[in-house]
């Protein structure tokens, strides 16, 4: 086992790095830099959210009250569980328990699909209730609350854009984890070389992180006043 570990490491070391440590530091730092660009990418949407929420607060309250808070909370829990199995999977890669890593990453994928499934149920619900921005957008009871449906449409535009971009990241994340599972099952990783596992893990946790903010901002604006 030790011999094969060293062989994996020697095959994996690119010529422009001095040793495996330098290569790993560079690759992890590169991943962090990518995540910084992702923060600014989502940041633009969060900024748009902030501006329109400040401008049309009552419409945002009315929109958020159509959200199913329990499905949202369940999805938050599902993502936190997926992050745990991902973190434990990376830990198994660190200490060379490749089989356990594969199992934990498969669990992560199951949680990922679970999240998308619940999200799909919510999307379906909004879709059949005409809560998708566009010519068929309808907002029942908005007049009663004195809220302009056009402003509620802005809330739903941001809701679909932000959760949609997040869901796209989840789909990409599931693809990346699948790649790690296949490569891991073929014995590509060892305690000396597991940078892809670490970096995909960072990506997965980042996507979890975005949801940690999306959940309170979109679902929990106000349960009592307004509307």
């Amino acid at each position: 086992m030790a011999t094969s570990d060293i062989e994996i490491a020697e095959h994996s070391l690119q010529h422009h790095f001095a040793d495996m440590d330098q290569q790993k530091d560079a690759s992890t730092f590169g991943m962090w830099l990518f995540l910084v660009t992702e923060i600014m990418f989502f940041g633009g949407l969060f900024c748009a959210y902030l501006v329109y929420r400040a401008t049309y607060y009552q419409a945002f309250v009315a929109g958020s009250q159509t959200m199913n808070i329990w499905l949202g909370a369940t999805n938050t829990a599902v993502l936190i569980c997926s992050s745990l199995s991902m973190a434990l999977g990376v830990r198994c890669a660190q200490i060379g328990k490749t089989k356990m890593m594969v199992v934990l990453l498969l669990i992560t994928i199951v949680f990922g699909f679970g999240f998308l499934g619940i999200k799909g149920v919510e999307y379906h619900e909004h879709w059949i209730n005409h809560q998708f921005p566009g010519p068929n957008f309808q907002f029942e009871g908005a007049e009663a609350g004195g809220v302009n449906p056009q402003n509620v449409q802005i809330y739903f535009s941001l809701y679909w854009a932000m959760t949609g971009l997040h869901a796209l990241h989840m789909i990409i994340g599931i693809g990346l984890v699948t790649w790690i599972v296949i490569a891991g099952a073929r014995g590509a990783y060892s305690p000396d070389y597991y940078s892809p596992v670490e970096n995909v893990g960072l990506y997965w946790h980042f996507v979890d992180l975005v949801w940690i903010y999306l959940f309170p901002l979109l679902y929990l604006i106000s349960k009592k006043h307004g509307g």
Partner: protein, 104 residues
């Protein structure tokens, strides 16, 4: 080739499970708190809890606590620039109503 002392710090499983438990409890707390009428403090509380959760994920699940100073500075810079983006944009949008009669 790399030997044991070069390898990255391995965090005990108990810490990961502990962080997971705290994250789950905080999720429950934030849902519970949203049903209590606190006025403007609802959003402050919700974002504070979200930020505590995010910090725990970044520090432990993403190993930032054990990472190099360069990585830490990079992450702090990212948060700072996100803050700049949000704060400077809001200095525009939130103050547009201040001058209702420009020119007077």
């Amino acid at each position: 080739m790399s030997t044991e002392e070069h390898r990255q710090h391995v965090i005990p499983t108990s810490i990961y499970v502990g962080i997971w438990a705290v994250l789950m409890v905080l999720t429950g707390v934030t849902v519970f708190a949203s049903f209590i009428e606190l006025g403007d403090w609802n959003i402050v509380l919700a974002l504070t809890i979200a930020s505590i959760k995010a910090t725990l994920v970044v520090l432990f699940f993403m190993h930032l606590y054990y990472s190099s100073k360069l990585t830490k500075v990079t992450m702090i810079a990212a948060v700072f620039f996100l803050f700049l983006l949000l704060a400077l944009s809001m200095t525009d949008y939130l103050t547009r109503g201040w001058l209702t009669n420009p020119g007077r």
